[in-house]
Subunit: 426 residues, 2 copies
């Protein structure tokens, strides 16, 4: 009486293994609750001879992608390869053949969403990607379904677990970036090549997806301003803490009318902000809609089982759907009024300087800020002198990004060296 | 080309007004995204003559429920009356007539779920209740859909905004319960008769719904242990703060095999716990699934627009559904192994005592605890003496509820008076 659904895996690493475990461990529960049973018919792997934890039945493993994509019995393809190539072409091919795709691949998605979306709509196949952003947190589904009656004005996301882990440890231990990174790599919490995480690209891929859904208009990855955490210094974290701030790599998207700003950068937030207590490898999305008000969703953004939790929920939705639905984007229908990219956003700034310790220097800095319309909210002069210079820490009120850039360039560099500039969201 | 869906309202207070505003203000967006247009054909009100903020078109308002329930054109009924009667019968009647119901009515739901569920299944009508628990937070949908591949072991909820507001202010201001309650009533944040909120019943209704969905077995309201915040004293909040704890009215559900405990009571949690920073009238649900790990969902639990946000999302789902789905409960299928009610849970305790200030008293208290297997984690003796008595504050390790009850009864009341007992979740 249960409906049998045959599925194929593209790849079977950690996440694929997690999905295998959930589907097998939960088969009876799932059948009882949904009337669905799944047969994992084909699993594409790179090498058939590799030792594996999972004991796949004979004939399931294959090293030929056509065994998955050309099998007419396979109606749903789960993609676990990650990265742009070859995953994106294979997802596209599966969709063109009418196979529904469930994927955790934020890169393929952020870079090729329009083509994938079109292929799915043309063939009527489903395209599910809950796991692509924030692992177990159902933020995609929430944006697509539960917040439909909202105009969302902003999203603040902690969407990369590796950088959140590093910043959390830097904050707790007063340690420097490079030391914590090395330790995180030893612990397997950062990749051997960590650049996609620590340079902010991973977060930017995810932000592009979240902003597109939240604002009902495509926000391409290229529109996201990206600044990673590699230059964050322990001293700035410490100075921020003294003023009541916590440093997070925030993915920020704001909409005002048709103007959209999207940016990923280290950001100070008040200790009392709910995002400040999101520590270690946890992810969270904080947003505001005109009807729902402020909301936050927190959970594990990576890992085999948390990601598998999202993938299996997508799989169950996909298999149960009579027909699949697709997000719509206002700018698809009204190409004459697309969302506009705003690069001169308003934000507060934290600035740390070393200044020659003599009369008039502070006044000159303050005057330069004032000239560019940057007004100062907090100023601290540190007692200790280094080489005849003292540390000055400023927090500004909201100012335009460009005004601040100009102001900093105009500061007399004989008297003052700007050591760090970080943004602050209040 | 858009599909026109005719709907009826039962009641039109704050929340109904919010839904009206969202549906009207968003009509084009909704049509564009979903292909659906809604006509609010009938609105049941108590009095046709009352002055209203909303200018209803002629013929929409009615004071006769049959105009909604007997209109064959109305396919979806939105219920905003709240409370058990007459709402529950009218929901039931609508379902029996094949009309899908969207409701925010936790009372009718917690008390009559089995009948409502059956009526919906029998007629094929949909039954949607996202707004019944935690307002704008999509926790119902998340439990039903996004966490399907999880065995959920516990839920901690801050599910009542009024009590969270009162406890937040008591914590911030060191104020007493009755003073803050009076102020909250003046501000419209507590009802003139606040008993359902402050005695914990509102939270218990919601917990019964959440636990039933999370554990896939019906957890009746009657199974929930309920203790409100009316006896909470400012001094206990202060003593807890000194030890690093925040007091919240938590709705707690835990499952271990087939054994389920559900309880609502004031609870100390560590300041670092994400729930500790959920303040004022915000709601939040913190849970753990075996695959997803720990998650938290925070947002506005009440108010016209936050609740309307959830109702409209349900309405859009209901109107788009080719067929409706219903949660399944293991104990419906396996009546021989239903979930079992556990009333002797394990928890840590906070105990404040006044003790005669003479040698041997502390030893006698410690010995009594020990006799009942209650082991002490933290003990503080306060310096200041009152009437020859000193304040003792204990935090215990995990102990059984019944052991603690017996231990407290056995303490020599000539030497020691137990002033407060509160539970602690670590």
């Amino acid at each position: 009486m249960d409906k049998l659904v045959k599925i194929g895996f593209l790849g079977c690493g950690n996440v694929g293994g997690g999905v295998w475990k959930l589907l097998n461990g939960f088969a009876d529960d799932i059948a009882h609750r949904t009337g669905l049973r799944f047969e994992i018919k084909k699993v594409l792997v790179r090498s058939l001879n590799k030792q594996r934890e999972i004991d796949f039945p004979d004939g399931v493993l294959t090293d030929c992608v056509d065994d998955v994509l050309n099998d007419p019995e396979i109606s749903i393809v789960l993609e676990f390869l990650g990265g742009e190539k070859p995953a994106h072409q294979w997802i596209q091919m599966a969709l063109e053949r009418g196979k529904t795709v469930v994927t955790a691949n934020k890169v393929a998605f952020a870079l090729h969403w329009p083509e994938l979306h079109k292929a799915a709509q043309d063939s009527g196949a489903g395209l599910y990607y809950e796991a692509a952003v924030c692992g177990a947190i159902p933020i995609i589904h929430t944006l697509e379904q539960s917040l439909q009656a909202n105009r969302i004005s902003y999203i603040y996301g902690i969407v990369n677990g590796t950088t959140n882990y590093i910043l959390t440890r830097m904050s707790r231990e007063g340690a420097e970036y490079s030391d914590v990174l090395a330790d995180a790599q030893k612990l397997g919490l950062a990749e051997p090549d960590p650049s996609s995480d620590v340079e902010g690209f991973d977060a930017a891929y995810k932000l592009s997806i979240l902003a597109s859904l939240a604002f009902h208009g495509r926000v391409p990855f290229e529109n996201v301003y990206v600044e990673g955490i590699t230059k964050v210094q322990a001293e700035d974290i410490r100075c921020g803490q003294e003023l009541g701030y916590t440093l997070k790599l925030l993915a920020i998207a704001k909409r005002d009318g048709l103007s959209v700003e999207t940016r990923v950068h280290p950001t100070f937030i008040k200790n009392e902000h709910p995002l400040a207590s999101v520590s270690d490898a946890f992810n969270a999305v904080f947003l505001r809609g005109h009807a729902c008000g402020e909301m936050m969703f927190m959970g594990r953004g990576a890992g085999d089982l948390p990601t598998a939790s999202a993938i299996v929920s997508d799989l169950l939705r996909a298999a149960a759907a009579e027909k699949h639905s697709y997000p719509t984007f206002e700018n698809v229908v009204n190409p004459s009024v697309p969302l506009q990219k705003n690069t001169d956003w308003q934000t507060a700034f934290y600035v740390r300087m070393l200044a020659v310790d003599k009369p008039g220097v502070l006044a000159s800095v303050a005057q330069t800020f004032s000239l560019y319309g940057v007004s100062i909210a907090v100023m601290q002069q540190k007692g200790d002198q280094t080489d005849g210079r003292v540390t000055l820490v400023f927090i500004t009120h909201q100012a335009s990004e460009q005004a601040m850039t100009h102001a900093l360039k105009s500061i007399n560099s004989d008297l003052v060296s700007v050591e760090s500039v970080l943004r602050v969201e209040n």
